[in-house]
Amino acid sequence: MLTTFRIRRFNPESESPQPYFEDYQLVTERSDTVLDALIRIRETVDESLTLRCSCRGAICGSCGMRINGHATLACKTKVASLISPDETIHVEPMNNMPVIKDLVTDMAGFWEKVRQVQPWLQPTGPEPEGEYLASPDAMNHLTGVMGCIMCGACVSDCAALEVNADFVGPAALAKAYRFVADPRDGSSSSRLTALNNPGGMWDCTRCMECIEVCPKGVGAMDRIMTLRAKGIEQGVPSTAGSRHTEAFADLIERKGRLDEPMLAVRTFGLANVRQMFSFLPMVLRALVRGKLPKSGPLFRPIPGIARIRRLFRRAKEGR
């Protein structure tokens, strides 16, 4: 099958170092992965095509890149799964990190953020003579997160990171979760307190991209949500993020739909004068166009609110 690969190239040493797309046509077999194809291009067509790759088996995390717009491992992506024969496969370097050359990105920032969560076991108390006792379920549960190979796919496609470079990001947070959920680790409350700061667990915007693109099923966003729940449970000081979550749930329970002005007020606090003032232009514009949402007592519960409240009751009892 003749396949066209449109690869984003970048050579920092060229006279005008600008990224550009280059097309390569290649006969591919049913069993070929995108990595097989890229290696064949490199070996038979253009030696200068640059990428990282090593294990070929989705365990080393070297070949993270974006294929048809989503980050993944080239070694795990079958060419045949992507296209009908006349379509073009787009291959680009990962997003949210600088490109060094062609498909090779600079992951120093990625690792700096991983280091921020102090990613090592911090037990308290004396070390046992034998192993730490731990339930098989707890350890099996952790294998799901330990399966993370640090390929960077989740960070590449993280929508929050795209607009908020301070966000520690899904990979680091999943790593943090791995320790918070480890019964041997004694530092979960200080970890959660640290993650409560700006840039931490509340900066995720829950777009689910990290879950979608993860080649190992780590489910970073789910881990982040569990971190938040544990944080609230353990009583970390409230933040805009945690107040937003609590107010959101509370308002829905009372009205059945979102009272948006009230959500803003409860998230930031009426006393936060600067923040409240910053909303003024938006409020005035909405008012002029007749789009200012109702709020407070003017915002009536939806019909059938009793059913919504029953759902909330059940969910709370279920815990």
Binding site: S54, G57, E131, Y132, A134, M139, M146
Partner: protein, 571 residues
């Protein structure tokens, strides 16, 4: 201005052996750095799936049993003093790993759980699902981050340097990202740069396993040992050679031929599918050669294990079978064949990882250490048992690190002239300056891989091996002229691959030489023209010394026997 870094101990390679060595060296108070051509978590240690062996006395196991089975597995070529240390220290090292944070599988009572592995009668393999290597590697890297050890990531080492007394004094390397060449001075260098699997095509090994450390040590005067001993794993995917863990058979999977028979009954009636790897691989190859295979494969059948076991304990290979062979292990058996997997041989060391002999029984390079797959103690002899390689990396990585750290305390910083950096730069410039050729590095590498697989595979003979040797010599000649088409300084992977091929050709040459020299069949080295093991003449190791001005020189060392005299090997 020449860049020079100075450390007490420099570790080349950041897989399990390298990271463990670095941490141990740091504990002695030494200034330690790691230099590696890929980020540590990209290392090939990741690929170890099944587990790590240890005989724990508090659960009724005996280290002597583990040691004996290792010796028997080695076909009596393993040095028994080294094997005894491995088996005695295994338990403590596993506990250390657990305390560092490895999420080993647990029993119902919360203690460490085990599974069975090949060549062993007891279940003494500790594991993390079927990605044990990855789980260990990431935890050791966590410890390296905690200890704030400097890691020079994506630096490619081109040579070892020695002072005027022949003492190892560091390495010359270039930063892949910038092309900058620098000298790393060190009182001790530990080679932990892994195996050489890519010398063969196909191989279970990652593309980075190109024998760099082995070749660099060899060229600097350290002897290589047991190079003829190459392990072929019984369950690899045909074509690309990806590994399906022995854990599958450890959990009870069957091997079937085209008639649906568990053919291992004929070859190893007691241990069946869990006989040692050389025995199982040979049996498979015989089945295939005699027409009882399917497209060059036999079948690995996991179906009777049930979905629970497969999904929970074999999750990685379940995924792998699905992604790479389009097979659901819970529904159908998967075709597998023997494939190149592991190098038993490597840079000769003593039990402290030293690549020189304190007693002067063999010559080497003072100040140079080695550990892991790059090293050869000889622990695994003619055949390594499954789940002994991870153990090897942590036990002997730790010992090499500690010894190197202590050794560095006794030594001044070696005097190395800046000229070595200029030499390094010039040799790279020389490669770039070669006139254009039609030949490519990739073509030479593929031809080498095919020649090695065809002639130095599961079954070998004089004619084939001699043919391979000639082929390698011809490919070496071609390498001397092949051009590098990308001449950039930044992340030039063409340059990296050309240099890797240079190292691989040295490795290939020594493998063929060792195999031609050993005129018997032992362990993984099986010659159809010398069918039997010959203890009278060959209960000894073959050492290969590099010569700058002539063919390699051979030396021999007797096998060190402590308590197990060679017996007939039956499984």
């Amino acid at each position: 201005m020449v860049t020079a870094y100075e450390f007490d101990v420099l570790v080349m390679g950041a897989g399990l052996a390298g990271l463990r060595a670095a941490l141990a060296a740091r504990e002695t108070g030494a200034a330690v750095a790691i230099i590696t051509k890929v980020h540590p978590v990209r290392s090939h240690s990741n690929a170890a799936q099944g587990g790590i062996n240890a005989a724990l006395t508090d659960r009724g196991d005996k280290w002597e049993e583990h040691a004996f089975e290792t010796v028997k597995g080695s076909d009596y070529l393993g040095d028994q003093d080294a094997v005894e240390i491995l088996a005695q220290e295994a338990g403590q090292d596993i506990l250390t790993l657990e305390h560092m944070g490895v999420i080993f599988n647990r029993n119902e009572d919360g203690r460490l759980g085990t599974r069975r592995f090949g060549g062993q009668k007891r279940a003494r393999t500790f594991f993390v699902s079927d990605f044990t290597g990855q789980a260990l590697l990431h935890v050791l890297y966590e410890q390296v981050m905690k200890a704030r050890l400097p890691v020079f990531e994506e630096w490619f080492v081109t040579s070892l340097v020695k002072d005027e007394h022949g003492q190892c004094g560091g390495v010359v390397a270039f930063e892949i990202r910038s092309g900058r060449v620098a000298l790393f001075k060190a009182k001790a260098v530990i080679i932990a740069a892994g195996g050489l699997g890519r010398v063969f095509e196909p191989s279970t090994n990652a593309l980075i396993c190109t024998g760099d450390g082995i070749a660099i040590a060899y060229r600097s005067g350290a002897p290589l040992m047991d190079m003829e001993m190459v392990q072929y794993h019984p369950t690899t995917l045909r074509g690309k050679g990806l590994l399906l863990s022995e854990a599958a058979r450890g959990e009870g999977a069957y091997l079937l031929n085209v008639e649906g028979e568990r053919f291992m009954e004929q070859y190893a009636p007691n241990m069946m599918e869990l006989a040692s790897r050389d025995v199982v691989s040979r049996a498979e190859q015989i089945e295939i050669n005699e027409g009882r295979g399917i497209n060059g494969c036999v079948l690995l059948d996991c179906r009777h294990l049930g979905k629970g076991i497969i999904r929970e304990r074999l999750s990685q290979i379940f995924e792998e079978a699905k992604s790479f062979a389009n097979i659901d292990l819970t529904e159908e058996p998967i075709p597998v064949c023997p494939g190149m997997h592991y190098m038993m041989g490597g840079v000769k060391t003593d039990v402290e990882g030293r690549c020189w002999d304190l007693a002067g029984g063999w010559r080497g390079v003072p100040g140079l250490f080695a550990a892991g797959e790059a090293a050869c103690l000889s622990l695994h002899g003619g055949n390594r048992l499954g789940a002994n390689s991870l153990l090897d990396t942590v036990v002997f990585g730790r010992r090499a690190g500690r010894c190197a750290g202590e050794y560095a305390k006794t030594r001044p910083q070696p005097r190395i002239g800046d000229g070595v950096v200029k030499d390094g730069e010039n040799s790279i410039k020389g490669l770039f300056a070669r006139p254009d050729t039609d030949d490519t590095v990739a073509r030479i590498r593929h031809e080498m891989g095919r020649a090695m697989t065809q002639n130095l595979g599961v079954f070998r003979d004089q004619e084939g091996m001699a043919h391979a040797q000639q082929t390698i010599a011809g490919l070496r000649e071609r390498w001397n002229h092949v051009a590098i088409h990308d001449k950039g300084q930044v992340f030039n992977t063409s340059l990296v691959r050309a240099l890797e091929l240079d190292f691989m050709l040295d490795c290939a040459e020594t493998i063929a030489l060792g195999a031609l020299t050993r005129t018997e069949s032992r362990g993984a080295h099986f010659r159809t023209d010398c069918l039997n093991r010959d203890d009278e003449h060959w209960l000894k190791h073959i050492l290969i010394n590099h010569r700058h001005d002539g063919p390699p020189q051979l030396d021999f060392l007797p096998v060190r026997i402590t308590q197990w005299e060679p017996q007939v090997r039956v499984y």
